[in-house]
């Protein structure tokens, strides 16, 4: 079963076609790259997958079930979380609290459990604290995994940019989703940070068995990291394959570099 099956998706904004008849199959436990020039519809696709836009036609299946018409907040529990192109952390909360917000939503609670939670919260310090401690323990493990433990009590807005990106990734990971959509995870990072990120993402794929879908412009990073790549241009898929196949593909070269005039060749 594929992690994500995108079937014949189209999206248009009052006449402007952002995505046209796009079909993609994203396999499980792989790192899947989406590349393409600016305005190719990559982020629009992410916004459809995460429930922010609904497509004008087509369907999206996640692990065999349609996730169309789901509210954005239902998706993490179903197994899909995302990061944003321009970092969207909870700026005035600490790094630890950022992670905790994601952890808090993991448990599905029915009304009885909810009332019990309220009772503990308001009247029983002992029960409440033991619940909190458990959550804090989980948060600490995640922070350790992402090498952020010394910044646990820092406000997210005070982190340097590279760490903010990392924190956002950690927060998406904390939701417990098996599929992570990463919108330009390496943008604005220096070469050293990019290398660390590569290692981290591979670790998430191999040890945590996550499916990672990433949009990226840093070709060296994408080609070195991804198992499979799709190239979008003007909302249409123009190529698909392994990094080496993509690199050799003449259509992709044309989309990125323009057509070579016969005279110049």
């Amino acid at each position: 079963m594929n992690a994500l099956d995108i079937k014949n998706i189209s999206l248009s904004f009052s006449g402007l076609k952002a995505i046209t008849n796009l079909t993609l199959s994203i396999p499980q436990e792989k790192i899947y790259g989406l590349i393409g020039p600016n305005g190719a519809g990559k982020t629009s696709l992410f916004n459809i997958l995460s429930g922010l836009y609904s497509p004008t036609q087509g369907d999206v299946m996640m692990l065999g079930k349609s996730i169309l018409n789901k509210h954005p907040h239902e998706l993490p529990r179903l197994g899909l979380a995302r990061t944003f192109q321009n970092v969207r952390l909870f700026k005035k909360l600490t790094v630890e609290q950022n992670i905790l917000v994601a952890l808090d939503q993991k448990k599905e609670v029915d009304l009885k459990q909810k009332l019990k939670n309220y009772f503990y919260l308001l009247f029983s310090t002992r029960h409440f604290l033991s619940d909190e401690e458990e959550l804090l323990g989980q948060a600490n493990l995640i922070l350790k995994e992402f090498d952020l433990q010394e910044h646990a009590q820092t406000l997210a807005q005070d982190l340097p940019y590279g760490l903010q990106k990392k924190c956002e990734l950690a927060r998406a990971y904390a939701t417990g989703a098996q599929i992570l959509l990463l919108d330009e995870p390496a943008a604005g990072l220096n070469p050293q940070e990019t290398a660390v990120l590569s290692v981290l993402l591979r670790k998430l794929r191999d040890h945590s068995k996550l499916t990672l879908v990433l949009i990226e412009h840093d070709m060296k990073f994408v080609m070195g990291l991804c198992d499979q790549i799709s190239v979008l241009d003007y909302g249409v898929k123009i190529a698909e394959g392994t990094p080496s196949q993509i690199q050799k593909n003449p259509i992709v070269q044309e989309a990125y570099l323009g057509k070579a005039r016969s005279k110049d060749v």
């Binding site: 954005p72 944003f84 969207r88 909870f90 994601a102």
Partner: protein, 284 residues
């Protein structure tokens, strides 16, 4: 202490409850509600109606009926908050501010035209059951509950909605549900403040709960700092006392200097606050 001073302190305590409960909505959840007086009115009329009824039927049991009436006021106000919150909290920012302003006015006009509650004549002869002791008991309990709520998973989710609603939803926070929860808690606590207020003033009139009161509560909150727990408490008590302390000035000069000075204090505090960069410590 003189009874005047005690009742002044009671009003300060009531304002603390109002501002702290509004802080949950405006400060921590990042909505902008301008209709808090409406929920206060619902609580005030509900509890006053219950104690009036109880006074007539079981006059010896008032020590029992008074807290019951306050809690009923809280539940009614919370229920009204839920009913109006569910459809209107889908709106954001300025739109929500206008809608909540309208809600406050609608509640006031409804009471104004509802004869059983006295209509425009108001409701008089409410038993004087409130006292500084009741205000302290309820005020301290409410502050404690608010503190616990804010420092809980609920509080974290509320603050995440304030910081970035889209990211918060992407992490699984149901924005409408959490916003409504915060709104209902805020409205319920405002209802208790209204009940205490009714039994302190002993007279209710829809005009008391007009836009000016909503505005006054919001103003105290903004001055104390949105999302600043103790700042809101301090500014509520300070402004209540300041307004009262300036009363003699008005009597001597026969001009309403009171509001001018009040306004000047507000403006200067805002300027000083911006300079001291207190903002950094707020909203954490």
């Amino acid at each position: 202490m003189s009874s005047y001073l005690l009742s002044l302190l009671s009003y300060a305590g009531i304002n603390i409850i109002l501002v702290a409960s509004l802080n949950l909505i405006n400060g921590y959840t990042g909505m902008f509600s301008l209709g808090h007086a409406g929920f206060m009115a619902v609580g005030a009329y509900t509890s006053a109606w219950i104690t009036n009824w109880a006074m007539f039927n079981h006059p010896t049991w008032m020590l029992f009926w008074f807290p019951v009436s306050l809690l009923s006021g809280a539940i009614t106000a919370g229920g009204v908050g839920f009913l109006v919150g569910l459809p209107s909290l889908r709106l954001k920012g300025d739109y929500l501010a206008v809608v909540t302003l309208g809600i406050g006015e609608i509640i006031r006009v409804c009471i104004l035209n509802f004869e059983p509650l006295g209509g425009a004549r108001g409701m008089s002869d409410i038993p004087h059951l409130s006292s500084i002791i009741w205000v302290v008991i309820f005020g301290a309990t409410i502050l404690y509950l608010l503190w616990r709520l804010i420092h809980s998973p609920y509080g974290r989710s509320w603050m995440s909605l304030r910081e970035d609603e889209i990211a918060s939803q992407a992490m699984g926070v149901s924005s409408l549900r959490y916003k409504t929860t915060a709104f209902v808690w805020g409205a319920a606590f405002a209802g208790i403040a209204g009940g205490l207020f009714a039994h302190e003033l002993r007279y209710l009139n829809p005009g008391i709960f007009d836009f000016n009161r909503s505005f006054e509560i919001t103003l105290m909150l903004v001055l104390g700092g949105l999302g600043n727990f103790w700042g809101a408490v301090i500014s509520a008590s300070a402004l209540t006392l300041l307004k009262e302390a300036l009363k003699p000035l008005q009597e001597i000069t026969r001009i309403d200097f009171r509001m001018i000075i009040y306004a000047l204090v507000l403006i200067s505090v805002m300027i000083i606050k911006a300079k001291w960069k207190w903002k950094r410590h707020e909203r954490t």
